[in-house]
């Protein structure tokens, strides 16, 4: 009798443990997270789920993006919310990891009307599949047209296509420096977007009489960029296109300048290098005269932008926002507000499917939206917005027309 009781007790305890574990990972994730459906309606509140790489190797971009989303929510709430409802940001950290991105998306997608993020291309592609299956509009890093097409109409790019921007910038750079006839491109072999950029430059620059002689691979976290710089110099070219992220770009440019690239105008860097991790690390002499392009203009003069910059500085020890996800995440939230107001979205769970479909249609081919740095629009999920080209004068990037 006693042993039977023990068996029943053990079996019951095991069952409780299993059920307890499983119930903990219900649709809304952690104890304090709120799904955007039923609970938000009941509380007169709309929850917008935002996914960003707050920790991990690209946290220097992910944290500002998360900040921008929270800031935008604050601005929206100050102005009366959306259709009279305040909005709440349900933030999830994807850690620049595809499995974490999918897991985070799976936690929010059941009740969501729209999800912002992940902010990185691999995370976006992986988590976008989950959003697509749930017919939820996902404003994320859909930088490849084929992925947008695969997940259409739910895949909406939060920023302009990087590869096109790189080609545009490289053409502008060689146009300003007509003696540049051959270049090398630095790219990270593990980053599909950077390799796609390198290939696009290889195929696109011959149109303007410039050849890409070599693609030099620089992996994330490389400690010594000397060998890459030597390879580039030995290629005997006229220009160096730095298609890698800020940390590695800083090392490569420093090495190039130390090893004999005397003229700054022979170097042009991509938007992913536009951050203090680049401009604060490279010496003033080395940076002077080099070019860089970006999807935002840090010196943009507009009331809304200036207010954001001040708030950002106040929250970030005086640092200025230089990474493009800041205006892009902000714009995404503001676009959601415009969409919800135009479509009179209620967040009522009974209307969830209808409202999700209407939101997807609105974003896929959006009206022209007044963004924080000028107008932009989504055309078949692709973001169409201006990009900015700069030349460094000392440490200061100065806009080049």
């Amino acid at each position: 009798m006693k042993s039977r009781f023990k068996r029943i007790l053990a079996a019951t305890f095991s069952m409780i443990m299993v059920l307890g574990s499983l119930s903990g990972c219900g649709s809304s994730g952690g104890a304090e997270t709120t799904g955007s459906g039923e609970s938000s309606t009941a509380q007169g509140e709309l929850t917008i789920s935002v996914l960003s790489a707050i920790t991990g190797p690209i946290a220097f971009v992910g944290k500002p993006a998360a900040w921008a989303a929270e800031y935008a929510a604050g601005i929206i709430n100050e102005a009366g919310g959306i259709n009279g409802k305040t909005i709440k940001i349900d933030m999830h950290d994807t850690k620049f990891d595809t499995a974490e991105a999918v897991s985070a998306m799976s936690q929010v997608v059941d009740d969501a009307l729209v999800v912002v993020g992940p902010m990185d291309a691999p995370g976006g592609e992986a988590a976008g599949q989950v959003a697509f299956d749930a017919s939820v509009t996902n404003i994320a890093a859909f930088s490849f047209p084929d992925i947008r097409a695969q997940y259409s109409p739910f895949a909406i790019a939060y920023m302009t296509d990087s590869e096109e921007g790189d080609l545009l910038a490289a053409k502008h750079w060689v146009e300003l420096n007509p003696d540049i006839k051959s270049i090398v491109v630095f790219a990270n072999p593990t980053d599909p977007s950077q390799m796609a950029t390198a290939e696009m430059l290889e195929s696109g620059l011959p149109e303007v009489g410039v050849t890409v002689k070599k693609i030099i691979e620089v992996e994330t976290g490389v400690l010594d960029a000397g060998p890459a710089a030597v390879q580039a110099i030995n290629a005997d070219v006229d220009g160096y296109y730095i298609g890698i992220r800020a940390d590695e770009a800083a090392k490569v440019v420093s090495e190039l300048r130390t090893r004999g690239v005397d003229e700054g105008n022979r170097i042009c860097a991509t938007f992913a290098a536009f951050s203090p991790n680049y401009s604060d690390v490279v010496s003033e002499d080395a940076l002077n005269g080099t070019y860089i392009w970006n999807k935002l203009d840090p010196n943009y003069d507009g009331e809304e932008w200036n207010k954001l910059v001040e708030a950002y500085k106040a929250d970030n020890e005086g640092a200025s926002p230089t990474v493009n996800p800041v205006p892009d995440y902000y714009n995404a939230l503001m676009a959601i507000k415009q969409c919800f107001e135009e479509l009179n979205i209620t967040g009522d769970p009974a209307k969830l499917e209808t409202e999700k479909a209407a939101i997807a249609e609105w974003f896929y081919n959006s009206p022209v939206i007044e963004g924080i740095q000028g107008e932009f629009q989504w055309v078949e999920g692709k973001k169409v917005a201006p990009v900015y080209f700069f030349q460094f004068e000392g440490k200061q990037p100065v806009a080049v027309k």
């Binding site: 053990a10 595809t98 997608v109 691999p122 599949q129």
Partner: protein
Amino acid sequence: MSTALSYFIIFCCVFIILTWAAYVPFRAGLLYNGTVYCMAIGGYFAALASKTWHWPFWVCIIGAIVVGAILGFIPALGFSRTSGIVTAVSSMALIFIIQSVIRNIDILGAGRGISGIPKIENLVLYSLILVLIVAVFIFRLDHSRLGRAFEAVQTDPDMAATLGVNVKIISVLGLTISSALGAVAGAIYAFNMRIIYPETFGFSLLLSVMTMLFVGGRYTQWGMFISVPLLWGINKWIPSSLAIYAQIIYGVILIVILMARPEGLVTRKMVAGVGRVFVRK
């Protein structure tokens, strides 16, 4: 079932099988770091077979087991001559090799990986079935003559050899079984993610697997049922406001458990005790 719950269960199944893939060679005294390599093989095979050749799920799984076992057997011939730290370090090289190979083969999607892997209905159920099958297999293995030979090699290879155990064959067998299990985990992972990248199969994943093995308990097969949901689920258990500290919490759990319970959360003694409760005398 909510989307979150189904993804959570499938990810847990992947990590449980993957941790078992690390557990099997450990039973034979080998700290084998090639589990991630085998996972990549299984994942890419399943992705290719389902997307390009339109193979059904179970055929993809069987194919992944076969390919994983073959491609695990070849390096196992070399690793069977090594032991201890040499096996651990040298098997890490497989991660570099597989990532470089994948990045340079266009049919495997190179750096962009393979996307558009077909959706499998009932993947939760299939994953649970696979966990059950592997659990029974490892339980039988642990309690077989072969399992005792594994244990003898782990305890003292020289003594095992004097008892007539062919240490080399045992090592090769352990590594090959591990490779097949890693491939199964990779295949489920690919079907769950429906997109697969070479970067997935890196040191971060290896570290996660080893942590799950050591926290759960490396001397029994059952610890993974505690450590995997606990460690994979950290982000889901803790309040969202603490989510950014998840890595710190992860590290603290690892340190505390390894200091307080070096054998891991689930020990053989505990398993024997639980077994006595459930088994009628």
